[in-house]
Amino acid sequence: MMNPRTVQKIAFFSLFLSTLLIVVPVGMIVVIIVQKGLPAITWQFLTDVPRQGMRAGGIFPAIVGTLYLVLGAVAFALPIGLLAAIYLSEYARDNVMNRIVKLAIVNLAGVPSVVYGLFGLAMFVVWCRFGASILSGALTLGIMILPIIITASREALEAVPQTFREVSLSLGASKWQTIRHIVLPNAIPGIITGTILGIGRAAGETAPILFTVAAFYLPRLPKSIFDQAMALPYHLYVISTQVPNVDEKVRYGTAFVLLAMVLTVNLVAIVIRYKFRKQKKW
């Protein structure tokens, strides 16, 4: 028999070690990318087009492309996702049809992103004849983040206490007035957080934009939503694997910008959630 105190120590140590094992890689990724990428960040790097076959110059078109794609994806997915979430949590009865819908949403979240890319290619690029374009890419990314937005919004709506709905109805409010004036305002923080997490996901993915929008090398800004565009994750992939002799600084600089964008977005989500959680009192 081992001394209980020894067992306790071993248990504590292995738990601590496992936790450390999660933190270390994350920390190392951040440290390495900051260390190697930060020196590349100059005003020119952020605002110039790529030059000399992407071995020099900047990454401005890729930054702009990613911003367009993300905005487009949210503009598409937020209204649809929010309305679907309202329907599912406020109106839908618990029947087979709605259970299938809910199951589908859960599974949609688990679909690998390259499958979204292929779907976007077939659906938007070919079938809708949008071609490889910002529109096709944004719609593909939008569908990819729909489950994130729907799930977060549903959770936010369902977290609003039932009594508020009852009181509102008992005052003679209609169901829609109740949702509009009582339920939604109390769910907005959760909806915003979910949307921002969706943005972070959309900004970082390569596979969905690979076939639907991404330009290998396009040293100018897109003029319309039917143009192709460069995007940060794909650009990073290209200069890391497809173009020989790219300076390490350029690669890590690009990774740094992408990481910084995604982390900033997530940070905003965390701050919003924290602020509203402190305010909430019921």
């Binding site: 009594t163 009181v167 109805l169 008992s170 005052l171 003679g172 409010a173 004036h181 019921w282």
Partner: protein, 251 residues
């Protein structure tokens, strides 16, 4: 004058009969108490009057509940109009997580009553005065209603009904979360309000029923066993079961 006339009312939750052939007349501008042991159907009865039972799946109602000449339980009843007229005060004080001002303005807003800011402020002041909150809160209207004391919250919930001009107030154990002093003050308010409103109050507290009500109905297992003047119920009950309850022979 009878404000609410209940005839042959039955209600089922699925197969379970929660109200069985209830008949009762609730007098205008009086306080009627409904008493009875837990689970006898008091809340169910109240929730028939403003159709809150509609929110529960599998509820079936037969019979008639006449309020000001219209049958409240008919499928054609205008629920928005009915719920505005027949307001409800819940057991747990439940202001919205909004400011004091907005809590009262909410009802006016959804019914499109007062759009003019001055008139709105007037109605809000009037409503708060009636529940004796105005003097305490007139400088704090922008504060969150969640920061009020329980008693103040319950008063605010009453004011919220007065603002939309409810004329029947249904109160489901309105004092059960309050201390004895606050309870006494709410009872005082109820007596005051009865000059203008018809009040139906469910209570577990027989002293409370005896103190505030003009008439009392005693319910048992979904039936309205006896319904009469409060003094009669408490001094000379006609039904053996009422007497047993009054003298404390049920839980």
């Amino acid at each position: 004058m009878d404000k609410i006339i209940v005839r042959g009312l039955n209600l089922w939750y699925g197969d379970f009969p929660a109200l069985i052939n209830v008949n009762a007349d609730f007098k205008e501008k009086k306080i009627t108490a409904i008493i009875g042991p837990s689970g006898c159907g008091k809340s169910t009865m109240l929730r028939v009057f403003n159709r809150m039972n509609d929110l529960i799946e599998g509820v079936r109602v037969t019979g008639e509940v006449d309020i000001d000449g219209t049958n409240a339980v008919s499928p054609e009843a205008d629920l928005i109009y009915l719920r505005r007229k027949v307001g409800m005060v819940f057991q747990r004080p439940n202001p919205f997580p909004l400011s004091i001002y907005e809590n009262i303005a909410f009802g006016l807003k959804i019914h499109g009553i007062e759009r003019n800011a001055d008139a709105l402020a007037g109605v809000i002041e009037e409503s708060l005065r009636r529940v004796l909150l105005w003097d305490d809160l007139k400088d704090k209207l922008k504060r969150s209603a969640l920061r009020l004391s329980l008693e103040q919250k319950q008063r605010l919930c009453i004011a919220r009904l007065l603002a939309v001009k409810s004329d029947v107030l249904l109160m489901d154990e309105p004092c059960s979360t309050l201390d004895p002093q606050a309870t006494e003050r709410i009872e005082e308010l109820m007596r005051e309000l009865k000059n203008n409103y018809t009040i139906v109050v469910v209570t577990h507290n027989m002293q409370q029923a005896a103190r505030v009500s003009d008439e009392t109905g005693f319910m048992l297992l979904g039936e309205m066993v006896e319904f009469a003047a409060t003094r009669e119920i408490f001094t000379a009950p006609k039904d053996k079961r009422t007497e047993d309850y009054i003298t404390g022979r049920y839980g």
